[in-house]
Symmetry: C2
Subunit: 357 residues, 2 copies
């Protein structure tokens, strides 16, 4: 039995979108391939509110995160972390011999503009990584206020992990001054995993020109140069299946209307937060909690594993806490094409199972 | 109109296989995901004639090629090249600050066992890369004889680019002593692009343990360690769609029978070679020409671009020569699920168009 997924990726994919994954193959060096890849880039620019170039990578979001920190750190990277995926960015720097320092917030607390200001004021850093939405804890960082601080440091390349928020929460890349904004397809974009996307600014491109060993497959400058020269075609054969589906899904997203889509995510988040407050507690303060997933403190000491087993029997799936937060918390994702009604349906079923009503 | 693809990837994908790309999503941290990924690994071991571990990477074949040369070169890599994809391996080393030397054969000539012996006898190298089947020229290197030479050097990690040959030509990984055998899905495996696979030996794993900066996303040791610990699950969210399709297609490949499948590829190659010799000429000697694609010397000085345009109108597509070989050669791929009858049909149509009969 297929389970309805309320996990923070992979998400359920609408049937018509899924069917585009089965589009017959075309040559990747054809005009049709150029047209497809150009079309995706144009639509992603709308979704990201940017005039910057778009890069597509046949990899998970981690691939482009590694590409960004490795390709564009000339001196040293300041990595701000509010959980597992923030830490991952630091691990990537270390694994690539890229100089970096890690600045972790206390568990459940956001990255603050003050922290970022203090660190960048040292003048030691020329790249900063911020997690917009931390999938492991459900924190959505105050990216607007953080962005204002980063703007004071014009030499710093601003990398944003929007893997689990893009298309679920408004990210105005150009207004925020984000140089590299990264997402992957299996979260709020509502597609299967296997493709990552990012926007890239002129500043980031110039930075990469001053880095000698950027690698090959994840070298953002090489991708950028290639698509300029070859009309949006990529150096290696890309996942055309994902591209067919993404192009189609972006039409659907733009048809829904971006504001409408972001509002639907807020509404879903509010429903889950109200339920969590009534029956459990929220893991993090609502002033910085995510619009795409909610982490719930397991104040009742239920067995999350058992709950998920029971949910599975009914055809639903939520997520246990991530890493050390397993059983201490659980996570309900409300992203992509999920509706408020579906969220309410899920919560009603949990109510019945836990006899909360 | 969909064009029947006789290009060396992406290949046409059978309808039933394509439909598996539209399988509804599952969680990538579930027992079902482990089972799927273990099943693929077991079947790939049969296809590769190996007891070694299998790694899956959501990337093109280039991703795993880079991962191999970067993760396992401790001292210096000897890169043997018979075309664009051999050269690419050298570019990957340079881009990663991995010490490497490039040994190119004359255009249209194979890598010889003697060349390899001479180079490895210097004792300067601890990793060697060989192209099994060069997509840009249609050369299939004499891997058996080369493997015998490499066996004389037990400290050397043997990496084989089988991107455009695996599942189209027999590669007995364990008998050849290949440490890392790499392929991607969009060639003879008969799937859409977007996933790469490799086998990896204990020797390669041990080598990687002595390399400090292996990167993150393409670090073969990290992938290996993770799947051991997490029951065949991967560190980053993988392309589950490709995995559903690959698992299904491997069943079909094993059902056809490996010997039958390889023989069908030889038959197709013989038909194309005979046609080429009659009407044009072969780019490389039949003693080392590929079983999965044939490069034809354009001795008649036809316009390959025009021919492909006319073929497109009838719903077919072949490949022009690669890079500098454009118009001087053209390429017909005969791989994956293509039949001898389909190859004959294509050649008949070309005969009519060029008035060769």
């Amino acid at each position: 039995m297929h389970k309805k997924l309320f996990i923070p990726g992979p998400v359920d994919v609408a049937e018509d979108v899924l069917s585009k994954m089965a589009t017959p193959m075309i040559g990747h060096r054809t005009k049709d391939a150029s047209k497809l890849q150009r079309s995706i880039s144009d639509k992603l620019r709308q979704l990201m509110y940017t005039k910057n170039e778009i890069l597509l990578s046949t990899s998970s979001g981690s691939g482009l995160m590694e590409g960004a920190i490795r390709s564009c750190t000339r001196k040293k990277a300041a990595v701000f972390s509010v959980g597992a995926f923030g830490n991952r960015w630091y691990d990537m720097a270390v694994a690539n011999n890229v100089s970096a320092d890690l600045f972790k917030s206390d568990m459940g607390e956001p990255t603050t503009p003050e922290m970022v200001d203090e660190v960048l004021a040292t003048g030691n850093y020329d790249l900063v990584t911020i997690t917009h939405n931390e999938t492991s804890t459900g924190i959505m960082n105050p990216v607007g206020a953080i962005a204002e601080v980063i703007k004071k440091y014009p030499d710093v390349v601003f990398c944003l992990d929007a893997v689990s928020s893009l298309a679920g929460s408004k990210i105005n890349v150009d207004a925020l001054g984000v140089d590299i904004c990264i997402a992957s397809t299996q979260k709020a974009l509502g597609l299967p995993p296997g493709l990552a996307v990012c926007s890239i600014s002129e500043k980031a491109i110039e930075a990469a020109k001053n880095v000698k060993h950027r690698g090959f497959y994840l070298d953002l400058l090489a991708l950028y140069n290639y698509i300029q020269k070859k009309d949006y075609q990529y150096p290696s054969t890309p996942s055309l299946s994902h591209m067919f589906a993404l192009d189609y899904q972006l039409d659907k997203i733009l048809e829904e209307g971006l504001d409408e889509r972001f509002n639907r995510h807020i509404q879903m988040a509010e429903v889950v937060r109200a339920w969590a407050k009534k029956n459990f507690d929220l893991f993090c303060d609502t002033s910085y909690s995510s619009n795409t997933l909610t982490t719930i403190k397991n104040t009742r000491g239920i067995s999350v594993a058992d709950l998920n087993k029971k949910l599975a029997e009914k055809g639903y799936m939520i997520s246990n806490g991530y890493g050390d937060l397993k059983e201490k918390t659980f996570r309900i994702a409300h992203m992509a094409d999920t509706t408020v009604e579906q969220i309410k349906e899920l919560l009603n079923i949990i109510d019945e199972m836990l006899e909360l009503k």
